[in-house]
Amino acid sequence: MTAWLNPDHDGMSGQADDVYEALLAAHEGLTEAESVALNARLILILLNALSDPEMALVAICAARTGIIVKQ
């Protein structure tokens, strides 16, 4: 397993609050449809930033797991 998928991994160097604030600030003033579109673009940018198609699939699975647990 790669480091960043380890549940204990914190890749934000203690700046999680800054990142979260910037994320929400980016959505301010947008309609819901615009927000969904922003999220889609952001996800595609991040998947590309991974530079590792296999890991992209693992991350997608990790996110999907959360929803399956809910149902």
């Binding site: 549940p7 204990d8 991994h9 914190d10 890749g11 934000m12 203690g14 999680a16 609050d17 990142v19 979260y20 604030e21 994320l23 929400l24 959505h27 947008l30 819901e32 927000s35 959360g66 809910k70």
Partner: protein, 537 residues
């Protein structure tokens, strides 16, 4: 355990009302809350007398500030009431976070040993004030505590302040060289000077209730997002001494404060939290929160400290703790100015350092309040995602924000600190870490009780101090204070010398200092303009 009984304080009429002429005082403090009383004691420890004026005659009604952080306890310990506070308070370090009825994760604020003071205690503000008032009595010649003495007017002139005071026995005036305004969020001093806060006001309303009940809840901070027992967004439970519990319920922006305060409305909400246990309401308040401050804290001869200077939301316990850190920073500087040991410009560094501290507190408490009040469907979606992931992913826990609990403020990079040349050890600006030590006579002591109150050198290891250094020092080595458990070396490094300020912040760090290095860092830390002026901006 009975409920707290407020006794009324009395004091003799001030000398001005016993036929004396208006007097001059070096320092007058407005407000005998935790901040004002701590300021009077800290100044007294520096030998500086003060008059404290308070418009009431008793300690805080209602528990108000209850969470006292480790750093604040270290400051209170220096002032002489830390051990008493810990003995009476409820010590805690674990917080649990719930989403609905599911525990998402827990955190430990102080997972390591070797500290005198715990991560946090909960103790009602009225106890803290009572202990401080009793400590003031140890300085009868230096602290003149005047209850029922209300500030009604003030005028700045000739490098000082004329203060008009009203008492039940009559009105009088006094003149002070310095006025320290510790009169709280609704500061009369601030109003009299026509000053106002800038910053954000949040519309969300919160209900705070202190209830007395027998329960076996552990000494932990419990926080719920979207609790099942309450229709609002969040709930918080804290344990206090005397079987008192603090319950904080988020009500939303449209709640009617007068209606929500009525016992018939409060009681069902509390029952939903605590179940069938019998309980009594001790104190209820409905709040909105603000994250705002004065543009500067020093205005001529008037200096603001605590809530009179800056206000935050309570999530993170940054109000009372921030105020005590103001005093810690101010008292030694003001004492040096009053005693003629430093130029009044030194007080500008109080502004610089504590505005930095206030901004850190405002940023963190504003973010907590934002997390608790999603403004849009998108913000709600992200919060839900963060809470979902937090059960299994550490990075998401760091984004969950139920309050970023008060932590020591670093003064790194500010004017008084001499930047260190290497990376090892504690950075200048940080608070000197605590460590258990064995004194040369065999007593167990803590480092936090050995540094502070005056400038000192802290020598870790066998470094030889240059001959002629005229500063008290603490040496941690085989011949000095023994570090038998190794905590001091682990936290401070080896063979290193620190210059520690009276407020226990590190001013400079050296490896093998020459006498000029220490002298220059000391002059800089005391605000000597000849040194600080050479510092590139």
């Amino acid at each position: 355990m009975g409920r707290y009984i407020h006794k009324r304080f009395t004091c003799p009429p001030p000398p001005e009302l016993r036929g004396g002429r208006p007097r001059d005082y070096p320092v007058v403090i407005i407000g005998a809350g935790p901040v004002g009383l701590a300021a009077a004691i800290d100044l007294a420890l520096h030998g500086v007398p003060s008059v404290v004026l308070d418009d009431s005659d008793r300690v805080s009604v209602g528990s108000r500030a209850i969470c006292w952080a480790k750093r604040t306890l270290e400051i209170f310990d220096r002032l002489g009431i830390g051990e008493r506070m810990v003995a009476k308070g409820v010590t805690w370090q674990v917080g649990r976070l719930f989403h609905g009825d599911r525990e998402v994760y827990s955190f430990d604020l102080l997972p390591e040993a070797g500290h005198k003071m715990p991560a946090f205690i909960n103790l009602q503000q009225y106890y803290v004030e009572e202990f401080l008032v009793e400590r003031c009595a140890d300085f009868p010649d230096l602290i003149d505590l005047r209850w029922n003495n209300k500030l009604v007017a003030l005028e700045q002139r000739d490098g000082g302040v004329d203060v008009s005071v009203e008492t039940p026995e009559g009105a009088y005036r006094l003149h002070a060289n310095w006025l320290v305004a510790c009169d709280g969020a609704r500061s009369r001093t601030r109003a009299l000077l026509g000053l106002d806060f800038t910053g954000r006001v949040f519309e969300e309303r919160f209900l705070i209730a202190d209830v007395e009940m027998k329960a076996d809840f552990p000494s932990e901070r419990w926080f719920w997002f979207e609790p099942l027992f309450h229709t609002g967004e969040s709930a918080l439970l804290h344990k206090q001494p005397d079987d008192i519990y603090r319950i904080d319920l988020q009500l939303g922006p449209d709640a009617d404060p007068e209606e929500e305060k009525k016992p018939e409305n409060v009681i069902p909400r509390i029952k939903a939290v605590v179940g069938d246990r019998p309980f009594e309401l001790d104190w209820v308040s409905v709040y909105t929160f603000q994250c705002r401050r004065l543009d500067k804290f020093v205005h001529g001869s008037v200096i603001f400290a605590g809530d009179s200077a800056h206000i935050v939301s309570p999530f993170g316990a940054r109000g009372g703790n921030g105020g005590i850190q103001d005093v810690d920073n101010l008292a030694w500087k003001l004492a040096a100015v009053v005693k003629g040991e430093a130029d009044a410009d030194l007080l500008n560094t109080y502004d610089e350092e504590r505005i930095h501290g206030a901004d850190e507190n405002i940023l963190n408490s504003a973010r907590s309040t934002n997390f608790m009040t999603p403004k849009s469907a998108t913000e709600r979606v992200f919060r839900r995602a963060v809470l979902d992931l937090a059960a299994s992913h550490v990075f998401a826990r760091r984004m969950v924000n139920s309050g970023r609990l008060s932590a020591p403020c670093s003064l790194a990079g500010h004017l008084l600190q001499t930047p260190a040349l290497s990376e090892d050890g504690v950075a200048p600006g940080q608070v000197c870490p605590d460590a258990p030590l064995t004194a040369p006579d065999g007593r167990s002591v803590f480092l936090a009780n050995l540094v502070g109150q005056e400038f000192k050198l802290l020598v870790v290891g066998d470094v030889q101090l240059p001959v002629g250094i005229d500063l008290p020092f603490v040496q941690i080595n085989a011949n000095g204070y023994a570090d038998q458990q190794g905590f001091a070396k682990a936290r401070l490094g080896r063979d290193v010398v620190y210059l520690v300020r009276p407020d226990q912040h590190i001013a400079a760090r050296f490896t093998a200092p020459a006498i000029e290095d220490v002298a220059r860092a000391l002059r800089r830390a005391r605000g000597d303009a000849a040194v600080t002026a050479q510092v590139p901006a």
